[in-house]
């Protein structure tokens, strides 16, 4: 996308950059009843399909000695079941495991699209997707909280009994804002910001490296300045794989923690 910017490297020293939105917004392929079907929509469906296919083919039959592919999928499922759901939520965790596993795998695949050749676009860098997922988590923990504790959930959040009386209005206000407003917001923004930053960094570093090296005919030996950019971009590339895994893990972990804090609500 960055290469699409028209720039005559022979004459211009500084090229006007394209709008940053061009990196994240795509033209509609076709429109269905007012809803545009874009590349992001397609990748979203592809990610969902990949998750379903991974789980179907990975867990289709149970073998005494699982194949390598089966072992990886079982490892992922076991990780979410044991290290996230059971360790955080406790004995009730089986009820919430399907949700946690779905968001973990969907976010993981969506994040890894960033470093997948030919796709190179993390679907989670469009705010709609992380915001939707965090709102689902928000409704789950709010409904669980009100379902288990009735209105004590709201009252005890706004008027915490474990705090000295003088501080209760202040702490209650902070708690109210933090639980019902900041939690879903930061959950969504954390994932979104990390993926936007990663995508921008990769595009700028690899893009400028390629632009400099491709302009070797016009600017001669000065195009070698593209090499450090390319090398740094490849380093960030590996770093982004780690970020993708970590953000998927953190989103799932925090969803589990929020649900747990609604179930065991006395602190």
């Amino acid at each position: 996308m960055i290469l699409a910017t028209e720039c005559d490297t022979a004459n211009e020293v500084i090229c006007a950059p394209a709008n940053v939105n061009d990196l994240f917004e795509f033209d509609a392929w076709f429109t269905v009843g007012g809803l545009a079907f874009t590349r992001t929509t397609f990748l979203m469906l592809l990610a969902a399909l990949i998750v379903v296919a991974l789980l179907y083919f990975g867990l289709r039959k149970q073998r005494l000695v699982p194949s390598k592919f089966d072992a990886v999928i079982e490892g992922l499922v076991g990780f979410v079941r044991d290290d996230v759901a059971r360790d955080i939520i406790g004995p009730d965790s089986r009820k919430y495991l399907p949700y946690l596993l779905s968001i973990f795998l969907l976010i993981l695949v969506g994040n890894l699209f960033e470093v997948t050749p030919l796709i190179n676009f993390p679907i989670t860098s469009r705010m709609a997707i992380p915001l939707f997922l965090s709102l689902v988590t928000y409704f789950i923990f709010a409904i669980v909280g009100f379902g288990k504790n009735r209105f004590r959930y709201l009252i005890d959040t706004a008027w915490p009994k474990t705090v000295p009386v003088g501080l209760r209005p202040l702490v209650g206000l902070i708690e109210l804002v933090s639980v019902f407003f900041l939690r879903p917001l930061t959950l969504a923004v954390r994932l979104f910001a990390n993926m936007v930053a990663g995508h921008l960094m990769l595009t700028l570093l690899l893009g400028s490296g390629v632009i400099f090296l491709a302009a070797v005919g016009d600017i001669g030996a000065r195009s070698l300045i593209g090499l450090p950019w390319l090398a740094f971009g490849l380093f960030i590339f590996v770093f982004e794989i780690v970020v993708s895994l970590l953000q998927a893990y953190i989103f799932t972990l925090l969803s589990a923690v929020y649900i747990e804090s609604s179930i065991h609500f006395e602190h």
């Binding site: 900041l182 923004v189 972990l253």
Partner: protein, 74 residues
């Protein structure tokens, strides 16, 4: 360029976000450093400590993220 308040606004937002990132930066450093100390002292508690560390980082990071959002809004 001269007297263009829009350009100045973007620059001030950038400085604001930089200032907002100082506190969470120090905080995350303290959280991660103490987690490493704890893991070195009691390696058998590694799983619990790692989970708690990520939680602490997530809550600390929220402040920097709010700054990040405000940078876009400004």
């Amino acid at each position: 360029m001269e007297g263009n308040i829009e350009l100045l606004k973007g620059a001030i937002a950038l400085v604001g976000y930089g200032l907002g990132a100082i506190g969470p930066g120090i905080g995350i450093g303290i959280v991660a450093g103490n987690a490493i100390t704890a893991m070195a002292r009691q390696p058998e508690m590694q799983g619990t400590i790692r989970t708690t560390m990520f939680l602490g980082i997530a809550f600390t990071e929220a402040l920097a993220l709010i700054g990040f959002v405000l940078f876009f809004i400004a």
